[in-house]
Amino acid sequence: MKGILQKSPILLVEDNEDDILITKKAIEKRQIMNNLFVVHDGQEALDFLRRTGKYENAPRPGFVLLDLNMPKLDGFEVLKEIKRHPELKSIPIIILTTSERDEDVSKAYALGCNSYIVKSVDFSKFINTVIEIRQYWLELAEIPSTCDSKPDLWGNLSV
């Protein structure tokens, strides 16, 4: 249902502290009310989404902003894992990176990312990027609404 995800939290997967601050600032400046959760590497991202370990009570995000270059598990591996997971694969994954490499773009789409966006160096442009991503994925796009469901229910739904 369109718009039902408007208040969904956003998950940011990013290892660079500066980039985390910049993204937080962008959200704060434009008064985006969605909760922003931050994890610092690929493994943490998977733990968060699968609700394992310390993320037992983590919410299901409306979308994920995923960086590519990260320690431990990189963005591609996280993407691959999410997209083959029956309950998680419908979460929109937006690759947010500085890399414009053709190889990276192709690989990310081949692995099933929903958008690939290059971080702008210019902050005012970056703010607009964040706003537009939010607006598109949480207000405009139709996405299966499973945000209030329990994990076991998603399991049943996917069977």
């Binding site: 660079n16 500066d18 980039d19 910049i22 600032k25 500085t98 890399s99 414009e100 490499r101 053709d102 971080k119 160096v121 210019d122 902050f123 005012s124 970056f126």
Partner: protein, 404 residues
């Protein structure tokens, strides 16, 4: 080959530090076994080994691998054993105690000799080929004996392999270099983003705590970061030319130019400019690069232009094998003395205040045209406008392979 393990190890280390690959043997028999398995450029051997005389070993080596250079090392030099070693076929003779430097020097010299030898046989092949090229039609192909021909073929084959290997290495280092530019450019963007963003935060959120001079400095930082971002962007484009794989397609240049004019529309309107073209051909080429090429040239014509009505004219002359394009403007023109420098990377003839830009645009044009297998040049005089010409082959297969 040496029975003294310490000498063996220290020599091995010294040689390996110079990037030679080294294998060792402690007895003559071991050495023979190793030589049967693989070839070496050069062997260093002691005159006295536990199981045989060094001179004996030299003869054995000659039987297995006659091409291998042999350097004899001895602790007790006498006229006798020196002569014996040389007679047996040693290529050089060293006396203990020997420093690794000494060995290195001889090894370098011998390896160089061997390379020169290779070149020598290459000379021979070249001469033979030249002779064959000179022969009159109908004349017998081989003016050489069967033995010689076999030899030459062998050498030719050997050099072919060498050439292929060198080619492979060259391609690899080329790829590495391009990848390097690509990766470095991206890695530079991340810190730049921090500089740009945090300076912006200071300006926006802390302006009441920073005085006017401080704010001026911050604005300069933001501007410098923005400029650097443009430079990196241009470097990225440059490293992509010839690297980015795109299909060759039929492109109607009239449509392409219309597209460019529409992209440049805000500038064209603002400057009260016009871009003129008519009946341009349809060419087989790569869309993104031909577009980038025309875009840069037209953009330059508009930018370096102080006329009240800037005018850019694109024309094409169709030659038997080539297209000759010209992009003419009524701009400020370029003094003849700068025509040569113009296509260099980051070459700027004006200050940022006069005309903005990174100075990479024409370098990118040149790279694109050259990758198409063509040439680019300019005709211009100061104050009289400029005309950029480029000539590209009609057939895309005569465009450089890596573009396809």
């Amino acid at each position: 080959m040496d029975d003294d393990k310490i000498i063996l190890r220290s020599l091995q280390k010294a040689l390996e530090m110079e990037k030679y690959s080294v294998d060792t043997a402690e007895t003559g028999q071991q050495a023979i076994e190793k030589l049967k398995d693989q070839s070496f450029n050069l062997t260093l051997l002691d005159i006295k080994l536990p199981d045989m005389e060094g001179t004996e070993l030299i003869k054995e080596i000659d039987k297995i691998r006659p091409e291998v250079k042999k350097i004899m090392i001895t602790g007790f030099p006498t006229i006798e054993n020196t002569r014996e070693s040389l007679n047996a076929g040693a290529d050089a003779f060293l006396v203990k105690p020997i420093s690794p430097q000494q060995v290195l020097e001889v090894v370098r010299k011998k390896v160089k000799e061997q390379e020169e030898n290779d070149n020598l046989s290459l000379e021979k092949v070249k001469k033979w080929i030249e002779r064959q090229m000179d022969r009159k039609p109908g004349e017998n192909i081989a003016n050489v004996s069967e033995e010689e021909a076999k030899n030459l073929l062998f050498i030719l084959d050997y050099h072919n392999q060498l050439l292929q290997e060198k080619n492979r290495l060259l391609n690899q280092s080329n790829d590495d270099l391009q990848n390097y530019t690509y990766v470095v450019s991206h890695d530079l963007k991340a810190p730049l983003r921090s500089i740009q963003s945090f300076s912006t935060f200071l300006l926006e959120d802390y302006s009441n705590k920073i005085d006017e001079t401080g704010q001026d400095y911050l604005r300069r930082i933001v501007k410098a970061a923005t400029n650097m971002n443009e430079l990196i962007g241009d470097l990225l484009i440059l490293s992509r030319v010839g690297r980015k794989f795109t299909e060759v397609e039929k492109i109607d240049l009239n449509n392409l130019l219309e597209e460019i004019v529409s992209d440049l529309c805000p500038t064209i309107k603002k400057r009260n400019a016009e871009v003129i073209f008519q009946s341009l051909p349809t060419v087989n080429t790569q869309r993104i690069w031909i577009k980038q090429l025309f875009m840069n040239l037209i953009d330059n014509g508009l930018k370096f232009n102080k006329s009240a009505t800037p005018r850019i004219e694109v024309q094409c002359k169709i030659e038997p094998e080539h297209y000759l394009f010209s992009v003419r403007d009524n701009g400020i023109g370029i003094d003849k003395q700068y025509h040569g420098k113009l296509f260099n990377l980051f070459e700027r003839l004006h200050t940022q205040e006069e005309f903005e830009g990174t100075g990479a645009g024409l370098a990118i044009c040149k790279r694109i045209v050259e990758n198409f297998g063509g040439t680019i040049w300019v005709e211009s005089e100061l104050g009289k406008g400029s005309t950029f010409y480029f000539k590209i082959p009609k057939k895309p297969d005569s465009q450089k392979k890596e573009m396809l």
